[in-house]
Amino acid sequence: MTSVRRRLVPYGLLAPGLIWLIVFFVIPMYYMGELSLKTGTIETGYQMSWAFSNYTDAISQYSTQFFRAFYYAGVATVLCLLIGYPLAYAIAFKAGRWKNLMLFAVVAPFFTTYLIRTIAWKTILDDSSPAVSVLKTLHLVPQDGRVLATSAAVIAGLTYNFLPFMVLPLFAALERLDRRLLEAGKDLYASATQTFLKVTLPITMPGIVAGVLLTFIPAAGDYVNATFLGGTNQAMIGNVIQSKYLVVRDYSEAAALSFTLMAIILVALIIYIKFAGTGALMGDEEEAE
């Protein structure tokens, strides 16, 4: 009896998550997949017609917005990494007793809703704000130029909103780093740069991989930043999907666009993991061996 029960335990543990995934992921995916191949309108109803043209239309017509989404998300992810790594490093190694407070500060923006935080950037970047005046004085923005309602504002918003998703995994990886390895590097006459490149960076690679994924994937599908901070030619693919679903109500093509976005991200993910190594994603430290 006990052995049977023991064998059932893993399934019992899996059940809640599995049921959750089936109900809220697999089943909706099923309906969306079905819808993406149908044609029709709400008035006439939707008929299954194997309309793969929904996909070709979606890709050919909105390639600009697809490209823009990945470009913005890519730049934001790189910026997050450049800002986040030194920050996580400082918190893990130099913060001392301030460590918890600084971690709290990284997470604190989450106490305010995403929407409010994004709208706050409208005030930070508005045409007559101090921040923009400084940029103008430094000639980074032309005298008659603006920041709000440009690509720069959308990327800034994305970078700001997703920074914590980059910092936290990086911090976790840096925190775990065995300090004795750094001492060993020093003992073996490696310069600080060498130690960083040959020891710290490879060991924290799982953190980087996780941070990049957590930042890039939601950023690529985001539409809130482009809605509020962007102008007339800054719409991302998320904006197109949103308007297809809620305004035009072309559900089929919206579903096709969503699937295309997922497929592209999935392919990018596979390529990226191939490069970075599955081990990095799974969190084991084969690379460092």
Partner: protein, 385 residues
């Protein structure tokens, strides 16, 4: 590649393939489970009887004062739940459509949407006809200009909640000479103007400024006008397309002229006197939001009671004084003349005939659902350009 890694990579590929395969299987099994169409051939009339139980109303945010619902409950004894869950006609439609297509109103007895959406829902068979005998006060007090709108000439199924004008909202200090929609295309204001994401607000106004009468416009007129807007959008003339948030941009001075709503301007002007509504030279777009009784609505008798209640001038005056849109009820101006002359004399709340003489009723593109969708898509492609 270490063996362990290869296994994992293979596992990942298998998982992806399995997902793809299940998708294909799923699609094969398709057919049922889709959205079905419907029509209005079998519209029912909401029955009366005695109001029993409770009343659920769905309306737009900030569209009623704080007292009316409480007073209604006290006077009638009908427990009323008033929910501000309509933020956008399209979005609300997307939310309730699956229920309404099953003949279920989701417990709502009154919903409030704009003219064109009211018509669309009615045409889909989602809205019930009204029994006029049950709403004598509405019959008596509805202002003449709203009695025969083109979308519902006999007010068979709709009762106006509030009305308003779409026109120009201008920073008088920064753009004093903006008088026509055409001025929004003046290079002087490059990057300083916005338009609304609601196609039926933006496109007809631009069209009218070009001398096309919106109610008579063809599909090609719509598409040509959208093309004109697209050029202005691509050149950077138009800063962005907005919902209500153009008001904040204007308060800061980032935007100096916009297509906007009269009620917004009344409220904004009290904070910043330079922010004003300007009646476009070629006229404004007039619209109403309408109370409707959806199919499957519980307790329609209570819904009738509520419609009649808000058409009593003394009750309506409270709503008008708070929301600052155009009231559809006769006799409200006289009451407010005593209570709050500023509101009673405001052209935006009680517009004279002369003030709105060039205005037209808000219109949708001509044609069937597919034609409308094509035009809407063309406009959305500009908005999400």
């Amino acid at each position: 590649m270490p063996v362990k890694k290869m296994k994992r990579a293979r596992l990942l590929i298998v998982a992806v393939l399995a997902l793809a395969a299940s998708m294909v299987l799923v699609a094969c099994g398709g057919g049922g489970g889709g959205l079905s169409g419907s029509d209005n051939s079998d519209v029912t009339t909401a029955t009366g009887g005695d109001p029993t139980g409770s009343l659920n109303i769905s309306n737009w945010p900030l569209y009623i004062d704080g007292q009316t619902i409480k007073n209604f409950q006290n006077e009638t004894g009908i427990k009323t739940t008033y929910t501000e869950d309509v933020n956008d006609n399209n979005e609300f439609f997307g939310k309730v459509q699956p229920l309404l297509s099953q003949g279920d109103s989701g417990g709502r007895s009154i919903i409030i949407v704009t003219d064109w959406m009211a018509q669309k829902m009615y045409d889909l068979g989602y809205i019930q006809n009204l029994d006029k005998a049950k709403i004598p006060t509405v019959e008596k007090n509805l202002i003449p200009s709203l009695q025969h709108p083109s979308f519902d000439p006999d007010r068979k199924y709709s009762v106006p909640w509030q009305s308003g004008m779409t026109g120009l909202v201008v920073r008088k200090d920064l753009a004093p000479d903006v008088k026509s929609i055409n001025d929004l295309f003046d290079p002087k204001y490059k990057g300083k103007v916005t338009m609304l994401t609601e196609m039926r607000d933006t496109v007809p106004l631009v069209m009218a400024a070009d001398g096309i009468d919106p109610p008579d416009a063809t599909k090609q007129d719509w598409l040509d006008t959208i093309d004109k807007i697209k050029k202005a959008s691509d050149s950077g003339q138009i800063r962005r397309f907005t919902g209500n948030d153009y008001i904040q941009d204007m308060a800061k001075g980032d935007v100096v002229a916009a297509i906007g709503w009269s009620g917004d301007a009344v409220q904004a002007e009290s904070d910043n006197p330079n922010l004003q509504y300007v009646q476009p030279e070629q006229g404004c777009s007039l619209w109403s939001d309408n109370m409707l009784i959806p199919v499957g609505a519980p307790n329609p008798a209570a819904a009738y009671k509520f419609m009649d209640y808000v058409y009593e001038p003394k009750n309506q005056a409270k709503i008008t004084a708070y929301v600052n849109y155009v009231s559809p009820v006769k006799g409200v101006k006289e009451i407010l003349q005593k209570q709050d002359p500023d509101i009673a004399n405001n052209q935006l709340i009680f517009p004279s005939e002369a003030y709105t003489k060039n205005c037209f009723n808000q219109v949708s593109p001509p044609g069937d659902e597919a034609d409308q969708q094509e035009v809407e898509q063309a406009f959305q492609d500009v908005v999400t350009g």
